[in-house]
């Protein structure tokens, strides 16, 4: 009973922090501050994932969302001259309407979502029992998440690695090569 209460309290606190960070991101115009708030937002979501017992997801969120993407966004900001967000010149009536309708539809959609941890929900019924019951004897890997990612869903993970690889190639082609050419010219001249 007490643990449930503590869990709820942590949930509410983290979600409140998430909402506060999101509102702050909307209100603030300094891009440097916004990037730091994005990092804080990711860290709070990582905390939420830990509360939901999804340690692997939390780990990824903390390392990638709060860590490396912040560094990369700061690197991008250092390349740009304007660190202040410009005020939009037009009124935001139509975008507001679109956002309200989309948000309303999403909230309406949550009524059909099974409650958290519901054992009868489709996500728990389909292939999950097999993973939980047999992944240890089939793969010999104690962490079911690793077994699913690396073995049962090996194709998807290969796709993910190739996505990251492609992103690296794209950035090399866009901004990396130019640097090397310039360096070569300096070496030659």
């Amino acid at each position: 009973m007490v643990t449930v209460l503590i869990d709820t309290l942590i949930d509410i606190t983290l979600l409140a922090f998430l909402a506060i960070t999101a509102i702050a991101i909307i209100r603030i115009h300094n891009l440097f501050v916004i990037i730091m708030l994005f990092s804080i937002f990711s860290l709070h979501s990582a905390g939420l994932f830990v509360v939901m017992d999804a340690a692997d997801v939390a780990f990824t969120e903390a390392a990638v969302g709060a860590g490396i993407s912040t560094v990369l966004m700061l690197g991008t900001l250092a390349l740009t001259k304007n660190h202040e967000e410009k005020n939009p010149s037009h009124r935001a009536r139509l975008p507001l309407l679109v956002v309200l309708i989309t948000g309303g539809a999403l909230i309406y959609g949550t009524y059909d979502i099974p409650s958290f941890g519901d054992p009868l929900s489709p996500a728990q019924q389909h292939v999950k029992p097999r993973y939980i019951e047999r992944s240890m004897e089939e793969t010999g890997v104690a962490n079911t998440v690793t077994a699913v990612l690396a073995s049962y869903r090996g194709y998807d993970t290969l796709g993910e690695v190739i996505v990251i690889f492609t992103a690296g190639i794209g950035i090399m082609l866009l901004i990396g090569e130019r640097l090397m050419r310039r360096k070569k010219r300096e070496d030659d001249g």
Binding site: V71, L72, A78, T139, V161, G168, M172, L179
Partner: protein, 138 residues
């Protein structure tokens, strides 16, 4: 930051700790949370800290661009190569069970191999992207 003694000393001591943690996450991923993705990111963070404190030129001497490009492709090749190897052994693509006599042991080897591939590819690509951004300023 080249003249900041405290930062330089702390970075020197933090680098091996971060790198060791990355390897722990890499090889302990079978038993606890973690795996190649997280380990690759953490390892690249160690080098990013090194770059921030000791400068881009020093870091590029440690890890030149062409080495990073080779490492990134090697990682993807290890992953896809494991799949091709299992195909050559007469199974399906990424059917690790054939990598050893005992299918469970084969699964373990296969998962270990592809996690190493992921780790190498992710850390190399992250550093490639970071160096590309950091190098533009000059």
């Amino acid at each position: 930051m080249k003249h900041n003694l405290i930062l330089r000393v702390i970075a020197k001591y933090l680098f091996p700790v971060i790198a060791l943690f990355a390897f722990y996450v890499q090889f302990h991923g079978d038993y606890g949370p973690g795996g190649g993705f997280q380990a690759g990111v953490i390892l690249s963070v160690a080098f990013i800290l090194y770059t921030l404190v000791f400068g881009l030129e020093t870091a590029e001497q440690v890890l030149p661009h062409h080495v990073l490009r080779i490492l990134a492709s090697t990682g993807v090749l290890i992953y896809a190569g494991t799949g091709v190897a299992t195909m050559l052994m007469g199974g399906n693509f990424l059917d690790y069970g054939l990598l050893a006599l005992n299918p469970v042991e084969g699964q373990h080897i296969g998962i270990m191999l592809i996690e190493i591939g992921i780790g190498i590819a992710v850390s190399a690509v992250m550093l490639m992207i970071f160096f590309a951004f950091a190098g533009r300023e000059r």
